[in-house]
């Protein structure tokens, strides 16, 4: 598989009196068609990383390559789904208007725009809502509009910043499955950021684990759960349970970075930062308790 995205030694420091290093030298590579999840604690620099990749922020150091070409300026074949769907949709445009908006700047002819918008809306389960306005829809439906807007651009790379963090658990499951379905159909390369370990394992072909701020890559975990995933049985499977344990342990045992005065949990027998892949059944650890159906206590890095 050809390389879609190459991030090398990416570093970003927000300037200011209290200059804050949000990313501290992150390197990874994403091959075409892969769904990579990036998981890390809140405030660790996940959004900053996505902004750097999308060229919305110019990184202090390091390089981003898209299909081998260094990225300068916001790439055209890139689309973003933001966490804050309420603010990222344009309330004065209809649902169809929102989906068509980026296509207008890409000089897609009117008829083709309409066709693309309607077919994409159908794929995300929003047929019949095209003439509504975003504020007439529930949160889950608004996020579907945002996903449709991104997909309609037929991007080579789709960036998603905690796309399902602000919807209820039931809607989140629906949207997660929608993403897997759409992805199987469209074969887009997806980079999805989340603070939810379970979500990263459920969705990803691979999970990159980020440390606390400044973010570094703690582990790169392959998720060999296959293409067909099911919200109940996949989450019960032995591999799923082992992977989420592995990731949670990696995060807990990570060396404390300078700066953020966080309570220290070090002192485990494992090497700091090393991924525990022993496969031992330790799924009853506190951090992992409760893979219950309500989803309220799911393994979370928050």
């Amino acid at each position: 598989m050809p390389s879609m995205l190459e991030v090398s030694e990416l570093t970003h420091t927000y300037p200011g009196q209290q200059a804050h290093t949000a990313i501290g030298g992150v390197s990874f590579e994403v091959t075409a068609g892969q769904l990579t999840c990036i998981v890390g604690p809140s405030g660790c620099g996940k959004s900053t990383l996505l902004r750097c990749i999308a060229s919305l922020v110019t990184p202090t150091a390091g390089q981003v390559r898209l299909r081998g070409q260094p990225v300068r300026g916001v790439p055209e074949d890139l689309a973003v789904v933001f966490q804050d769907y309420g603010r990222s949709l344009f309330p004065w445009m209809s649902v169809r208007g929102n989906v068509e908006f980026p296509l207008r700047s890409r000089s897609v002819p009117r008829a083709r725009r309409r066709e693309l918008a309607l077919s994409t809306l159908e794929r995300v389960g929003l047929s019949g809502a095209e003439d509504k306005y975003p504020w007439q829809l529930s949160g889950g439906m608004q996020q579907r509009v945002a996903i449709a807007r991104a997909l309609a651009c037929e991007p080579a790379l789709l960036l998603m910043d905690e796309p399902f963090a602000s919807v209820d658990a039931q809607t989140r499951f629906e949207l997660e499955d929608l993403l897997l379905r759409v992805r199987a159909e469209q074969d887009t390369t997806i980079l999805l950021v989340t603070h939810d370990i379970d979500e990263s394992v459920y969705l990803g072909d691979r999970v990159l684990v980020l440390s606390k701020s400044p973010a570094t890559v703690l582990a790169d975990v392959a998720v060999e759960l296959g293409q067909q995933r099911d919200q109940i049985s996949t989450r019960e499977s032995e591999l799923f349970v082992r992977l989420r344990g592995e990731i949670a342990r990696t995060l807990r045992n990570a060396p404390q970075n300078r700066g953020e005065g966080d309570h220290d949990e070090a002192g485990e027998d494992e090497e700091p930062g090393e991924v525990d892949s022993s496969g031992e059944d330790r799924a009853d650890e506190p951090a992992l308790a409760g893979s219950d159906s309500t989803g309220s206590e799911r393994g979370s890095t928050e």
Partner: protein
Amino acid sequence: MSEVITPSRTRRWRGGLTASASQLGVLAACVLLWQLATVGVQSPFFPTPVRIITEMWQLWFSGGLGTLFLTEAAFEDVLPSVGRLLLGWLLAALVGIVLGMLLGRSGNALAYVGPLLSFARSIPPPALLPVFMVLFSIGFTLQLVTITFGCLWPVLLNSADGARSVDPVKAETARAFGISRAHWFVSVVLPAALPKIFAGLRISLSLALIMMVISELVGASNGLGHAMMLARDQFDYERLWAGIVLLGILGYLLNTALSAVERGVLRAVPR
């Protein structure tokens, strides 16, 4: 899953009706008091409202059906004034909105010219009339420049303010999707800035009326201000008062019309 929010308009509508009924009552009471007072005083400087309205009727609105009841005097006095007022205001609106939005979205530029704008806005526009009179000969250009200059600053500053207030998430979304500059300004910045822009337009419209009268008092060969100066010279206080009342009505109508446009536009462009 979907929840359609339909604001209840009926209640507000009925509230509006009763409000305007009582407002009319207060207005009628005031006119009645004015009538009684002027009848009592019997001063030539203060004609009664009935006389003023009769004078307005005879002067301007007793024309034939072909001219929509407007008299020849109305074509001399009223229409040129309204025309210049609207033209000057629209010109200021166009320049103010475009420049204001550009300034509001270019962080540095606004910081540089901000104090200059505050200074320009602080000059009472009539104070510049003598300068304009030197620069432009008395006539249409002078009136137009005076009105436009007076109207420009509130629109410009409000547009800049509105453009600056675009939600950063929306700005980032537009950048992430490579929205073109033209689409960004027309489809994102303008809708976001509309409420502020309308606030500026409303201030400007009342300024336009003021500047229109002032420019006509000083130098014009027609228009309401000119007619009022003539009336004063001829000691025709009924005509003078007719002009004053007509200006009030004109201002009220213009403001009402703008409010209706604003409501319509903001409803078509929800946020």
